[in-house]
Symmetry: C2
Subunit: 502 residues, 2 copies
Amino acid sequence: MSRPQTPEQPLDAQGDSSPHRRVEDSGEGTQNSHRMLGFSDALLSIIATVMILPVTHTEISPEQQFDKSIQKLLATRIAVYLMTFLIVTVAWAAHTRLFQVVGKIDDTLALLNLACMMTITLLPYTFSLMVTFPDVPLGIFLFCVCVITIGTVQALIVGYAFHFPHLLNPRIQCSAHRALSRQHILRLVLRGPALCLVAAVFSLFFYPMSYLLMVTIIFLPHVSKATSWCKVRLMGRQEPPARSVEPFSFDLHAPLSKERVEAFSDGVYAIVATLLILDICEDNVPDPKDVQEQFHGSLVAALGAHGPQFLAYFGSFATVGLLWFAHHSLFLHVRKATQAMGLLNTLSLAFVGGLPLAYQQTSAFAQQPRDELERVRVSCAIIFFAGIFQFAIWTAALLRQAETLQPSVQFGGQEHAFMFAKLALYPCASLLAFAATCLLSRFSTAIFHLMQISVPFAFLLLRLLMRLALAGLRALQGLRPAHPVPSQAEAEAQSQLLPASC
Amino acid sequence: MSRPQTPEQPLDAQGDSSPHRRVEDSGEGTQNSHRMLGFSDALLSIIATVMILPVTHTEISPEQQFDKSIQKLLATRIAVYLMTFLIVTVAWAAHTRLFQVVGKIDDTLALLNLACMMTITLLPYTFSLMVTFPDVPLGIFLFCVCVITIGTVQALIVGYAFHFPHLLNPRIQCSAHRALSRQHILRLVLRGPALCLVAAVFSLFFYPMSYLLMVTIIFLPHVSKATSWCKVRLMGRQEPPARSVEPFSFDLHAPLSKERVEAFSDGVYAIVATLLILDICEDNVPDPKDVQEQFHGSLVAALGAHGPQFLAYFGSFATVGLLWFAHHSLFLHVRKATQAMGLLNTLSLAFVGGLPLAYQQTSAFAQQPRDELERVRVSCAIIFFAGIFQFAIWTAALLRQAETLQPSVQFGGQEHAFMFAKLALYPCASLLAFAATCLLSRFSTAIFHLMQISVPFAFLLLRLLMRLALAGLRALQGLRPAHPVPSQAEAEAQSQLLPASC
C-alpha cells in the first residue's frame, strides 16, 4: 500500500535553529491521518456491535422458549442493539465528515481524537441506561452529557485545525471563505449537542420533552434539507453549498470517504464473524470434573454436547465471510461512495449483526420441528435482508454510475453481469430456501444446511455457472422463431446486454 | 489514502470476445490485496486476544483472593492467554510472509484466504482443550489437525499463485528460479504441519513424544538458522537466500510488511482498549428491580456501586490509547520493519493485553491496603513492560537506522530526542510510580491514579517539557567551569547532540 507521506524536513546536520525553521515550526509533526482513521474505525466498529453481546448471551432453554417474558426480553435487547448500532454509525459518519475537513493531523489532534473516541465508547452504555430507566432524569441526562462531550471535543478539533490551516483539507485551506466555512462546520457539529443540552435541562422537570428533542436530532438533517428544498421552490434557485463543505450538506449524493466505509465495514464483519468463537473459547472448554462425572471420562461425548455451538459458528463464519467477500468485490469497483450508499451499507451491516443469533437459534433447537421451521425462516429472512441491502448499494451506485463506478461494472461493462451474480447470490439463495420451507416444512433444517453448504461452492464456481447460464440464454434466443435481420444499431444494443467475454 | 489499483481493462462497447481478451482471461479479476489483508489482520487480532476474556471474567470476590486454587486458576488462564497470543501471532507472521510471495489476488484466492482464516480461528480453542486435557490423545490430535489444515490451505494458496504467475510478487514472477522458489516456499509452509502430522500419529500411543515434536516446531526456525550458521563456519561462505524468498529466511533482519504490523497492532490496541466497556455494557446496566430493592430507587447509588468498573475502564482506555499513540508516532517514521522489530512488537502487545486485568484489580480492591500495594505494583510492572518493549522496537530500528528509519528520527535527527521522550514516557512514569510505592506504600493507589492522570497531560505538553528540559541541560552546560574554545568539529558534534529546534 503506498500511502502519501508528509515530505520530511531536509536534515540540517548542524541542527541550528534558523528563522525559516521557526516559521515552519507549525509544520513540524504534521502527519498523514490514514492510520489514525483506521484505528478509529476499528474502535467504532467494536462499539457499534457491542450490544449484540447481550442478545447472543440471552439464555433460552427449551422449556423457556415460549415464555412471553423471555421473548419480550430478547425483543428489547434486539431493539437496543439496532438503535445503538444506528446511533454509533451516526457518530461514525459525523467523524468521517469531520476528517474530510481536517486533511492532515499532528500529535495534538491525534490525542484529541483519542478523547473523542473515549466519549463515543460511552454512547451504548448511556443509551442502554436511558432505555432501561425511561422516566428517571439521570438516564436522559447522562446520555445527553455524553453527546454534548462528543460535540465539544469535535468542536475543539475543528477549532484547532482552523487555527493551524496547514492541517486543513486543501480545498478548504485554499478557499477564500475560510472563516465562513469554519462557522458553518462548527454550527453543524454543535447542532446536535446543543439540542441535547436543552433536552438535558428539560429532563430535570419534564422528561417527555427531552425525548421529543432527541428524536428531533435524528430527523434534523432531513428536516433542514426539506426546508431548504421548500425555500428553493418558493424563492427561486439557491446557491448550492460550497464544494469545500460538501460533506456537511447531508445530501444523499454527497461524497463519503470510501476507505472509511471499507474500514468500518471490515471491522463489523470481522467482529460478527468471530462473535461465536469468543463464547466457544470461553465457555465450551469442558471442565475435567464434568467430563469425568457426566460423560464418564469421554472427551468426545463432552465435545459432542457442544456440537450445535460449533455448527452455529461454522455457519455464521461462512455466511459473514461470504457477505464480506461480496462487499469487497463491490467496493473494488467503486470509485466514489455517496451518503446513500453509506446508509444502505449501514442497514446491511445491522442485519449482518443478527446472523450469529440466527445461527445459534437454528442449531440449538433442531430437534423440535415446530420451532425449527420458524427459526430457519427467521435466519433466511436475516440473510436475505443483509444481502439485499448490499445489492441496493450497487443499485444506488448504478444510478450515478459515471461518478461512482468503474467502467467494467457499469451497464454494458465486462464485469457487470458477474457483479450482479455475486451480489444477488445470497438474496436469491435465502429466498429460495424460504420458499422451499413453505413447501417442504418438515425438511426445513435440511434445506437450510443445504443452502449453507452450496452457497460457498456457488461463489467458487460462479464464473463457470454464469457462462453456462448465459450460454443457455443465448441458446434460448437462438431457438426463437426467425425474425428480420436486426439493424447494426440493434445488434450493438443486443451484444451490450450480453457481455460475451464471460 | 491512494491505493494502487489494478489498471482496468479498456471498455469495449460491443462486448465482443476477441483473441487478446481470452488470453488475458487469466488477468481478469486480478485485485489489489490490501483490503483483504486488512480484514485478515482484523480477524487475527481478535483471535489473538480472545483468551483475555476468561482472564478478565475470572470472578475474584474479596474473600476469595487469597484462595490458592483461585490464584492457580488465574495463573493458568494468564498462561493460556500468553501462549495462544504467541501461537496466533506466529500464524499471523506466517500469513504475512505468504502474502509477501503473493502480490495480487483474485476471487479464488480471496475465498481460500477466508478458509485459511476460519482454520486459524480454531487455534485458541484447540490449544485450550489440549492444555486442559494434556493426557487425552483427542486434545493433541485436534490441535494438530488444526495446524495441518492451516498448512494445507496455505499450500493450496501457494500452488494456485504459482499456477497463475501474474498473481505473484513481481520479484518472484520475474525470477529465473520460479520452480525452485515454489519448492522452497512449500517446504517452509508445510514443515510445521508435517511435524504436527507426526505428532498427531504419536498422540495415539505415546503422547509425550507429541509434545516434544510440537515444541520442536517453535524452535525449528532458530534451529535451522543455527545449523546453517554452523554449516557456514565449517564449509565456508554460503550463498545467502535469494531476495525473492527473503521473508521466509527467518532472519531477524528480514523485512516484515510495515502495513501488516500496523494493522495487526491497531486491531489488538482497539480490542484491549474497549475490553472493559464490553462488560460494562453487558453487565452494569442496573436491573430496575434491583435498583428498587437494594438501592431504594436511587439510580445514582446503583451506578455508584459500579464505580470501580468505570474507573478501571477509563484508566485502561487512556493507557492503551496512549500506548497506541506512541506506537503510531514511532511507525510514522519507520521506513521498513524487520522481523526483530516484529518480535518486540508482539511482546509489547502481549503485555498490553494484560492491562485491563491490571486495572480491574487495582480499582476493585482499593479499600484493602495490603492487596492494594501488590496490585498497584503489578499494574506498574505491566505498563512498564508494555512500554519498554515499544522502546526496544525503536532501539532495534536504530541499530540499522539507515534502512529502517527516516532521517529525522535517526541519531542526530531533528525529531530524535522527541521520539525518545515519547517512547520513554510510560516506562519512566511507571518505574517512578513503582519506586514511589516502595517509599510511600500507604499512598500507593493515590500514586497510581496520579500517574494515570498526569501522563496524558505530559504527552500533550511533551514538546514544551522537552524544550524546558533541553534548556535546562544547556544552562547546566553553560554553568560548567571555563574550558578551551572547542574546535570546529567539536562544536558541530555538540550541536548534533542538542537539536536546537526543539
